[in-house]
């Protein structure tokens, strides 16, 4: 379950960074996924604490982390960092989508009622309010970037700051986590956007996909390079800890780390995205390659989280020998619960889209007029 926690917060941070690329840095080609990325960050953020809650032995005391925090503990920061970031994301959504909420609030029915509640009675709109909304949303998007980095960097810090564990204890850990978060965030957006477009018969916004693919390629190179450099530096120094870590990599994690994480799920997407970025391919071929690479990178980041979180716990504290772990299917922290927790945000996104369209400018395949779902 603790594998899923950094994975989901990574998706949050990554999706938010994409939305900020559009809102703050003016990458207008990402307009097609700007709303979708912000909404994705929001729903994944809603579910980020759930794996933690499932992990706690005393979940009913979860709020003690904010009521009686012990500030010498890095973990005590979670509640505050999470709550602060959630407020920023919710406010940004409110300002970015206020126009849509006002439109939906005009009608009748439960959704209109819900939108009126969300608007908090402020349904006034003219050019001046639109400009103000835009300015505030841009400010919040800018503020959200360091907060997203803080949220996920903090998750990396939770692991990197534990001196008892040689597999975790590195100052590079939080940097690696931030970059892998961006990779997973972009990957989930590409994956989801292309699936939704296919299911709804929309024409893909080709410049947007190409741009996302290039970002994905760039960030994955940085993330993988950092991960490799970290391991290589330990291996090269040949310190005492390498004796046990080398064995961990060669024996316990050989398949999930060396074969799957690097050779299969890093190398293949690297080539797919590289070819796609360097050569001009037909849209159909390029899209298939990008989607495959994005899906593989989603798995790669999950593998990375697994190898970090579980790998670190496999080393015995006496630095002699290893333990074994594999989650059960039905237990509290098992595979079935993990699948449910990971699937729920997609369901919530579907509901979100029913209230406010996340792809307002989607164009049906073969059509030219702008239309919504």
């Amino acid at each position: 379950m603790i594998v899923l926690y950094p994975y989901i917060t990574g998706l949050v941070a990554g999706a938010f960074i994409v939305s900020s690329l559009y809102h703050v840095f003016g990458r207008t080609e990402l307009r097609a996924v700007a709303r979708f990325s912000l909404a994705s960050a929001f729903v994944f953020l809603l579910f980020a604490p759930l794996p933690l809650l499932m992990h706690l032995g005393q979940p009913q005391r979860a709020f003690n982390i904010m009521i009686t925090p012990n500030f010498s503990s890095a973990m005590a920061g979670f509640g505050f960092i999470y709550a602060g970031y959630l407020i920023v994301v919710v406010m940004e959504i409110w300002f970015v989508m206020r126009h849509s909420f006002i439109e939906r609030a005009r009608g009748a029915g439960p959704i209109a009622w819900l939108c009126r509640i969300i608007l908090l009675g402020n349904a006034h709109e003219d050019d001046a309010t639109r400009a103000a909304d835009h300015r505030i949303a841009r400010f919040l998007a800018g503020l959200g970037i360091p907060m997203a980095c803080l949220l996920h960097g903090y998750v990396g810090f939770l692991f990197g700051s534990l001196k008892a564990n040689p597999w975790w204890s590195t100052p590079l850990m939080f940097v690696i986590f931030i970059f892998s978060a961006i990779v997973s965030g972009i990957a989930v957006l590409i994956f989801h956007y292309m699936v939704v477009a296919r299911l709804n018969g929309w024409r893909l916004d080709q410049p947007c996909v190409r741009s996302l693919a290039k970002y994905l390629w760039g960030f994955m190179i940085i993330a993988v390079a950092l991960e490799l450099l970290e391991v290589m530096s330990i291996a090269y120094k040949q310190t005492e800890e390498w004796e046990v870590l080398g064995m961990l990599i060669r024996e316990k994690l050989f398949v999930s780390y060396v074969v799957l994480q690097y050779l299969v799920f890093s190398l293949i997407p690297f080539f797919l995205l590289g070819i796609n970025s360097l050569f001009s391919l037909r849209d159909r071929v390029a899209n298939a390659m990008v989607w495959t690479a994005a899906t593989m990178l989603l798995v790669q980041v999950l593998l990375m989280r697994w190898n970090v979180v579980v790998g670190g716990q496999l080393v015995s504290k006496s630095m002699r020998g290893f333990t074994d772990y594999f989650p059960g299917l039905w237990e509290k922290e098992g595979i079935a619960v993990a699948v449910v927790i990971f699937t729920l945000p997609f369901g919530i996104l579907w509901v979100f889209n029913k209230i406010v369209p996340l792809f307002p400018e989607a164009v049906p395949r073969g059509g030219s007029a702008s239309g919504t779902k």
Binding site: I65, S72, S73, M75, N165, S318, G321
Partner: protein
């Protein structure tokens, strides 16, 4: 006018003196350390532990005594005994006894050297487990024992990961952090921890570091000892007499 000014200056000085006295007194008490007992001036104990690795025979009476005394849940251990077997080829094989003792498999190569190392919570002065506890449920007592407040522990397991000695666990029955307490309830009654009491070879020694005549203090002056993972800066208070270099 001058008198008034003088009087007021005197009053101010008096106030300052009284105020600083109030400040200095408790500060002084604090600086003298929590080891100093308030009241009669006698030193309060500061508990620590030693393991004489040359004396342990791996009978595991300590483990059974601990389980009985503290009603430790089956499957987890507050103290355990590791067996080290070093072959002529230099290969080090380590295993730990379970409740059923050791598994004696057919000899896998000749053993050049073998010994037992009892392990338990090191009750570190700078305990990482306390540092990382998000709700402050783990704490150091003034007499040098690391405890967990079971009414506050949220069972996150972060302390289990942070402890460099593998001394903590999440109790499968209570779903909270569990660990050795130096049998704190026995200390309150003037008794030694159950494991120390049960050891037939006096391989486990418990005592007061503040008492220069305690058996522990004398041993630490006279014998060679090592600490586990001293480089981590946790300042453990479990001293291993004549510990083999293979043990970390």
């Amino acid at each position: 006018m001058t008198d008034d000014r003088n009087r007021s200056r005197r009053e101010v000085l008096k106030l300052l003196a009284a105020g600083s006295g109030l400040l200095v007194f408790p500060l002084g008490t604090l600086l003298a350390g929590e080891r100093e007992a308030a009241g009669d001036g006698a030193r309060a104990p500061y508990w620590a532990y030693a393991v004489d690795t040359t004396r342990c025979i791996g009978c595991c009476a300590c483990m059974r005594a601990c389980r009985d005394e503290n009603d430790v849940t089956a499957g987890v251990f507050r103290t355990w005994v590791e067996r080290y077997r070093i072959g002529f080829d230099g290969e080090v094989r380590v295993d730990a006894a379970t409740d059923n003792g050791y598994v004696f498999e057919p000899a896998a190569g000749e053993v050049a050297r073998a010994f037992f190392v009892p392990k338990l919570c090191n009750h570190c002065e700078k305990s990482v487990c306390n540092q990382v506890c998000p709700v402050g449920a783990a704490f150091n007592t003034p007499d040098g024992v690391v405890l967990v407040d079971q009414k506050h522990c949220i069972g996150c397991g972060y302390c289990v990961q942070a402890c460099p000695y593998g001394s903590r666990f999440i109790d499968p029955k209570t779903h909270k952090a569990g660990k050795c307490t130096f049998c704190y309830h026995r200390l309150a009654e003037g008794l030694a921890p159950a494991c120390v009491h049960a050891c037939p070879r006096e391989a486990r020694i418990f005592g007061d570091l503040n008492d220069p005549h305690s058996k522990l203090s004398v041993l630490l002056r006279q014998r060679h000892y090592r600490l586990l993972k001293p480089e981590l800066g946790t300042h453990p208070k479990c001293y291993y007499l004549e510990l083999d270099r293979e043990v970390v």
